[in-house]
Amino acid sequence: MSKAQAVAYKQGDYKSKVKPIWCPGCGDYHVLISITRALAEIGVAPEDVAVISGIGCSSRIPAYTNCYGFHGVHGRSLALAAGLKVARPDLTVLITSGDGDGFSIGGNHFLHACRRNVDMTYIVMDNRVYGMTKGQPSPTTEPDWDSALSPGGTGLRPFHPLVIALASGANFVARTFSGDPNGTARVLVEAIRHPGFSFVEILSPCVTFRPDEKEWKNMVHTAPVEPTDDAARAARRIMTDDGFNLGVLYRGHRAPYQPEIGTASVDVADLEEAFLL
């Protein structure tokens, strides 16, 4: 009998005793609730889950869970997570990131993680601003967002993560809103269970530097169409939506990348020998 069958896990089993230091009102509190709810729904043992992150407010999540975690280098969480999943395919691997860490500093890793299609789930809390470093525009910031650090706005076309994910080969693409923790948890359950690289963008308001995003709760709406397995069709839909369509937008059928492991002809000592001075 597996651990999941033997034990019914509660949401609280996935939470650590570390108190989050996000700003009160931050959408990331809801995301933490959704992740722990999703894991309880799936029933995977906390010690069989690894939560990997880079740098930023959203990347603090591994410390707030009771799972294995790695708070890694800025923008490099996907490379780390892919290595872990390939070496330990038995683990459920989640990566938590933000729009700065994930699409700017880690932008190149994002493309290739989608392309490789390793079986893991990438959760990006998109608040369209660098919150931890006090409010600089990020790749997803609107071109006309006026702030002290970007007077008059950047004038730059925002990065479109969902379309980039589709074009690069992600096998599951969805968008949710942090203010709907149960809806987000349901999508995360599906994303985690779906084979291959799953990408979930969670619109998560930054109440400190983007108080205007409190209005998101009145702007989001369920996508009026069923998920498709046609990437071109999904891309057309996403390119023409208003950015607030929620739900699973694409489910692909590509087989995950998983090389055979344990077949290396050299051991760690052999590898180390090459580096000895």
Partner: protein, 170 residues
């Protein structure tokens, strides 16, 4: 209306409402502790304590009933979340007891409405009796919060003015 057809289902949902409320108030208390708002921290811990007591009362009733062990997605709420859920987006680091009690009042009123509607639509006398009990309990909570609110007048409009804000306009 939520389709709860037996005592076990009703107890499972009632217990979950209280457990989630405890966790939520503890989370809010932790937020206030981290942000040095000790008055609010104490208030949220007090609210968590009261919810915990109610949860314990329900738990003792669960021992003799056939209560299903439900996963998070198996609860059948009337809305997207459990009736006592509050919008964590409404939390502010400078909020006052008046704001916190307004949140609590809304949560308790939603919980009362949940059980009130349920007791009105229930046909089984045992389920109706239990739903009556829960509705009355939530009504007491509403009254308790309203009484507490009498101590705190609504703050002025500038309650969130911060002389050292996290973001400077210049």
């Amino acid at each position: 209306m939520t389709n709860l057809t037996n005592i076990g289902d009703l107890l499972a949902h009632a217990y979950q409402i209280e457990i989630e409320a405890v966790e939520r108030y503890q989370m809010l208390a932790d937020q206030m502790e981290v942000h040095n708002n000790s008055e609010l921290e104490k208030l949220f811990r007090k609210l968590a304590y009261h919810e915990g007591q109610h949860a314990e009362e329900i738990r003792t009733q669960m021992t003799d009933a056939n209560v299903p062990e439900l996963k998070p997605g198996e609860f059948r709420w009337a809305g997207p979340d459990s009736p006592e859920a509050v919008d964590l987006g409404d939390i502010h680091y400078m909020m006052t007891p008046w704001h916190a009690l307004q949140l609590a009042l809304k949560a308790e009123q939603q919980a009362f409405a949940f059980f009130d509607e349920f007791r009105r639509s229930a046909s089984d006398p045992d389920i109706k009796r239990l739903a009556d009990e829960f509705a009355e309990e939530e009504e007491e909570h509403v009254a308790m919060v309203l009484k507490e609110l009498e101590k705190y007048p609504e703050p002025d409009d500038d309650w969130d003015d911060d002389p050292d804000p996290p973001v400077s306009p210049e």
